[in-house]
Amino acid sequence: MKPFGQVTSKTVAVPTTNVDTDQIIPARFLTTTDRDGLGDAAFRDWRFDQDGNSLDHPINAINPDTHAILVAGDNFGCGSSREHAAWALDAFGVRAVISTSFGDIFKSNALKNGLLPVEVDEATLDLLMKEPNRELTIDLEEEEIRFGNHVVAFATEPFARRCLLQGSDPLTVLLDAVPDIETFEREHGRAS
């Protein structure tokens, strides 16, 4: 799995709340059978009109080399379970999303793709919304974000954090548990 340790980059602020995964990647791009190449589809209908002309939108500032941190309104990534949303954000150049809360399934998907969802309090989010384009460090080892004189702690589910820091695959750990799964199936009358 793609590891995540620390990222220092500038922020792009989008105050919209309840950004659903249909906005992150519209369903018409879901007929792919690959994980790759979804960067162009990210926020497609925010970035282009129906004739393919570019639209003015703050999200256009995302750049993996300079602006890789998205600051978004509450409940980012709600709705559909499509992991394509995490793949598209990653391919588009987003390394981390900061918000006050996330859709459950999106958060789980992001953590499995080296894309860090960072949950902060409302005051911190307000501060970051008011001053977009500011340099910020997200440190997963220390579980803190640092900008200016501010140090703000955040929490990540411990197992997902360990996998991200080590770049290790949770599936390997799950497969190690197969003997226990087999025992469970035998004891509960679920063996094949």
Partner: protein, 466 residues
């Protein structure tokens, strides 16, 4: 000792390994449903790592999202929206064949939307864990299963192990007091819950729906209610199984061989009277009216008799702009371009009957295009056996082949920019039913009434012809 909730009982029955501070629990999966859209990349991971599907017998595949709802042409070719859509369906066929997974293919009379077929075949069992790469997996919670949507990486995990890492969620009971009024459906109850909780009020929780109004619902209604749990942020919604549940399942092919033992075991699945929930809300069932949405999120819902609420912030204002609505306007003044009946939310036989009741002897308004799409081949057959298709066609609606259709608009069924679509589906997100399309979520009855009137309409205002 404090009693246990329904959720806790089901959680414990499927716990391979309990959670620890540094490790999530491992849950056993009793039924893994897969479809063409969220599975190909999971099979790719299996291929890359040389892994097999561990329990193909507990895996069931269907084709629903990308499939056309128009019939094949004279040469047997289906009108797929794109070659990519057709390729995705072909990829699922190959993957199922390679791994020995049962696929309900397009010529199978048992096929349908993924959340229709599990219950119809009796494969959704009370007390089990049901997962699928689809957020509306919460539907199966209607049977007292713990059912939730997962991402594609996790689809790979379940294929390879038949288990899943999971942190234990919190519990929230939604208690309906009293009974619903005539003309009010499970869809209206669900929209009332979402309007109350907000779009993320259920995040981190498993909902349990309880109270007389829930007990009075058929399994179809309970499935509609649980289906929409995710629209309040909750990954799962549950209803304790009872005689209604057992009556629905009895005799279906996928139920356990020892039926008596199964029912005895399932009968223990209810929240104890002294069970503690992390959170609880109470809803006055009698006060619920037919509900419709006015914004771009399912929680932006009000009674159809109401006015469009004024926007209180920039996000709400942007939502009204997208919908072309102004605060204070009567909802009943909204002109309708299209009506869609179907989806895993409202594509069941009961929904078809409700629509037929309102369309019988009437015509869909001239400027409205109405699409009725059964959720499964079984529903299509049943509706035709009852003559409902003739009622739809005589009213001027279209009667299609089963699939997700306009709910997600991946298969070519969609609206045009700026059109208002009254839809029985689950999401009114921007662009969900086509770029620039304005979706209003409603019950099948409200959708049918709106089709007849040509404006958003209260189904209680329509005279039903016998």
């Amino acid at each position: 000792m404090t009693g246990k909730t329904l959720f806790e009982k089901v959680w414990e029955r499927n716990l391979v390994r309990d959670e620890a501070p540094d490790s999530p629990a491992i849950l056993h999966v009793g039924l893994h449903l897969i479809h063409e859209v969220t599975s190909p990349q999971a099979f790719q991971v299996l291929a890359e790592r040389g892994l097999k599907v561990r329990r193909p017998d507990l895996t069931l595949a269907t084709i629903d999202h990308s499939v056309p709802t128009l019939p094949a042409d004279t040469e047997g070719r289906l009108p797929y929206a794109t070659p990519a859509a057709e390729n995705q369906v072909a990829t699922l066929r190959t993957n199922c064949s390679v791994h020995g997974i049962e696929l309900l293919d397009l010529d199978d009379p048992r096929r349908g939307i993924v959340h229709m077929v599990g219950p119809e075949l009796g494969r959704t069992h009370p007390g089990s864990v049901v997962v699928c790469g689809d957020s509306h997996t919460s539907t199966h919670g209607a049977f007292g299963a713990l059912a939730f949507g997962i991402g594609t990486t996790e689809v790979g995990h379940v294929l390879a192990s038949q288990a899943l890492f999971q942190r234990k969620p919190k519990t929230l009971r939604v208690m309906f007091k009293g009974e619903t009024a005539p003309g009010v459906t499970a869809k209206d109850m669900a929209l009332a819950v979402i309007a109350r909780l907000g779009m993320d009020g259920g995040t981190g929780y498993v909902l349990e729906y309880a109270g007389d109004a829930v007990r009075a619902l058929s399994m179809e209604g309970r499935m509609t209610l649980c289906n929409l749990s995710i629209e309040a942020g909750a990954r799962a919604g549950m209803v304790a199984p009872d005689e209604t549940t057992f009556d629905y399942l009895r005799g279906r092919p996928g139920v356990p061989d020892d039926w008596q033992a199964a029912v005895a075991s399932w009968s223990e699945l209810y929240s104890d009277h002294d069970a503690a929930f992390d959170h609880e809300i109470t809803i006055d069932a009698a006060a619920i009216a037919p509900m419709v949405t006015y914004g771009v999120s399912p929680h932006e819902a009000v009674p159809v008799t109401a006015q469009v609420p004024d926007a209180t912030d920039a996000n709400a204002s942007a939502a009204l702009d997208y919908m072309g609505l102004a605060g204070g306007a009567d909802l009943s003044a909204i002109a309708v371009n299209r009506v869609f009946v179907g989806s895993c939310t409202n594509g069941r036989i009961e929904d078809m009957r409700q629509v037929a009741d309102l369309l019988r002897g009437k015509r869909v308004a001239d400027h409205v295009r109405m699409l009725v799409v059964p959720g499964s081949a079984a529903v299509k057959q049943q509706a035709e056996d009852e003559g409902l298709d003739k009622i739809f066609l005589q009213a001027g609606a279209e009667w299609r082949e089963p699939g997700c259709s306009m709910c997600i608009a991946m298969n070519g069924d969609k609206g045009d920019p700026g059109e208002v679509v009254v839809s029985t589906s689950n999401r009114n997100f921007r662009g969900r039913q086509g770029e620039g399309v304005r979706t209003i979520l409603a019950s099948p009855s409200t959708a049918a009434a709106s089709a007849v009137v040509g404006r958003l309409a209260d189904p209680r205002s329509i005279e039903v012809t016998a």
